[in-house]
Symmetry: C2
Subunit: 101 residues, 2 copies
């Protein structure tokens, strides 16, 4: 029986205006350590700001592991309470600091 | 006489709450095409949101050139009207889409 290779799907972290950036940063760092990537979703300016702050904090957490992160923002349509909203999704991936100069 | 190689310093784009994301995206894409990188600075949730939206839009502009961008957020202290404010800086760099699988 052949094994079917599925492309790994990143875990999704939903960040709101009330999310605590340090908690989100801890979750981002943990997922990047174990899986190498994560997707962060946020709707609205306050939530996007919390998400970006969390990523800046997570970079500090990852340094101890010799890792850093980089992110690619994109728009995504999400359904929230049966209404379609445009959210920001941040595809985040980790890399070893020794990989680059 | 020896030439002194200076590390290239990225251009800084300051984004405010009133910035138009499509205009900022055009400037980001132009600088990435010519210089390969740019730094985007924003103070406050509304400005950070405009900056992230601009980056998402700029990715679409760059696709035509076979380029994509990725960004690394960090905190930075800026002096605004003689007061120290914590801003978000987004280090942005371009890469060729053929560089990756």
């Amino acid at each position: 029986m052949e094994a079917t290779l599925q492309p790994p799907v990143p875990e999704i972290l939903k960040v709101s205006a009330d999310s605590r950036p340090h908690s989100v940063a801890g979750a981002i760092a943990a997922l990047l350590r174990s899986q190498g990537r994560v997707e962060v979703q946020a709707i609205g300016p306050a939530a996007v700001n919390q998400a970006v702050k969390a990523l800046a904090i997570a970079r500090g957490y990852l340094t101890e592991d010799g890792l850093d992160l980089s992110t690619q923002p994109a728009f995504v349509k999400l359904e929230v309470e049966q209404e379609e909203r445009t959210a920001i999704k941040l595809g985040v991936y980790a890399y070893r600091l020794t990989d680059v100069q």
